[in-house]
């Protein structure tokens, strides 16, 4: 004889209420990721449907940086920045790496992420240009939907900064600010402050075979005037890439990353500040 269990009349409504609460909590939680200033997402259907002027040049492609990654010539550095610069250079000459932030998995950040050897993909839609870097899976968004920079008190500081672009003829002009400055250097050599800003003038040259980017960088706390350097990048046609994470095990067994060859900076966070 088959026995049929009767539903528990108290448990069923309770379970339904819990499911309802979880659903509501989930929706509220998802909404919590929305832009704090109410800005439409760059890939929102409503944003893409707006009448944005088409990009005069399609920069979509894969590129590799040409030449050495340093931004030479260097500007006249302020004394504290010069002191670090000299210390890093002296260390290298002696076979010691001073301030090995990137090797220890701190993001290289702008501008070095653009020039540091590895390839990157540029993916352009009307509202944004996305740069996906092979190096440490970094990413940059350059918004071209007419938005303004965020209130720095709201924007979460980032190593690649907040980039807003507009076109001047066939040149994309990008203003990047709101940087994270903790452990963010220009190639270990030059420290950065919250006054750091970059203007890039990006042009497709030689029929699209190369990119030219003029970087103009300012940080009155660390150097005098404008630091302007032009870098070029070569388009690549047979290049996809897989992830390149910096992991706790990444440097295991690498002689150059052994303790005897690394000299840390004596840097303490400000009182009460947690990192």
């Amino acid at each position: 004889m088959t026995r049929h269990r009767q539903p528990n009349v108290r448990i069923v409504p309770t379970a339904l209420a819990v499911i309802a609460c979880l659903t509501l909590d989930g929706a509220a939680q998802e909404a919590a990721w929305e832009n704090a200033n109410g800005q439409l997402g760059s890939l929102a259907r409503a944003n893409l449907a707006q009448d944005h002027a088409p990009h005069p040049v399609d920069l979509t492609g894969t590129y590799t940086p040409e030449g050495f990654w340093e931004f030479q010539p260097f500007p006249k550095l302020k004394p504290a920045a010069q002191e670090l610069f000299d210390r890093v250079r002296a260390g290298a000459a002696a076979g010691v790496t001073v301030n090995e932030v990137t090797g220890e998995c701190w993001p290289p950040g702008m501008p070095i992420i653009m020039t540091r050897v590895w390839p990157f993909h540029v993916i352009a839609v009307e509202t944004a240009i996305v740069i996906v870097f092979n190096f440490e899976n970094q990413i940059r968004w350059i918004y071209t939907d007419g938005r303004q920079h965020s209130d720095p008190n709201v924007y979460v500081p980032s190593y690649n900064g907040e980039s807003i672009g507009h076109w001047e003829g066939e040149t994309l002009v990008v203003d990047t600010r709101n940087f994270e400055t903790h452990k963010h250097f220009i190639d270990r050599l030059v420290p950065l402050s919250d006054q750091f800003r970059i203007t890039e003038r990006i042009s497709s040259i030689e029929g699209g075979d190369r990119l030219s980017i003029e970087f103009t960088m300012v940080d009155p706390e660390n150097w005098e005037g404008n630091w302007t350097v032009t870098k070029t990048f070569r388009r690549q046609e047979r290049m996809d890439f897989v992830e390149s994470p910096c992991l706790p095990s990444t440097n295991e067994g690498l002689p150059a990353m052994g303790e005897r060859y690394i000299e840390q900076l004596d840097e303490e966070p400000p009182d009460g500040e947690q990192r």
Partner: protein, 127 residues
């Protein structure tokens, strides 16, 4: 047109600079002497085929020393013929490498290798 002496000096300096650049860019290569290449024979302990850089460990022929070498990213080495199984555990291998600047007994950057079957991979400068 042949380069002048001055031009040669400039080209030489550029070539030296290129040798000193860490090709993978993940960390500094300051402890390595990119101007010298050396060889050592041993047996493979481990081979890591990965980004952001590969690494190879071998034990010296007399068994006394473990040598560690770093190499370029797998993404770059694959195009040069390196594979996940290029260096098999316990296989004999001769490694061509850039030594440490301070002469410490340890590995530097992997330049190339001669495998147990005599096949070569990477760059093997004439001795």
């Amino acid at each position: 047109m042949l380069p002048t002496f001055k031009g040669s000096a400039v080209l030489g300096a550029l070539a030296a600079a290129v040798l000193l650049w860490p090709a993978h860019g993940h960390h500094s290569g300051a402890p390595y002497d990119g101007t010298k290449t050396m060889r050592i024979e041993g047996t493979v302990e481990s081979w890591r085929f990965a980004n952001p850089h590969c690494s190879l460990q071998i034990r010296s022929a007399d068994g006394s020393t473990l040598w560690s070498f770093e190499a370029n990213p797998a993404g770059m080495l694959a195009a040069q013929g390196y594979r996940r199984d290029t260096f098999k555990p316990s296989a004999r291998v001769t490694v061509v490498y850039n030594p440490m600047k301070d002469g410490q007994p340890g590995g530097g950057r992997l330049v190339g290798a001669i495998l147990s079957d005599g096949a070569t991979i990477g760059q093997i400068p004439a001795q």
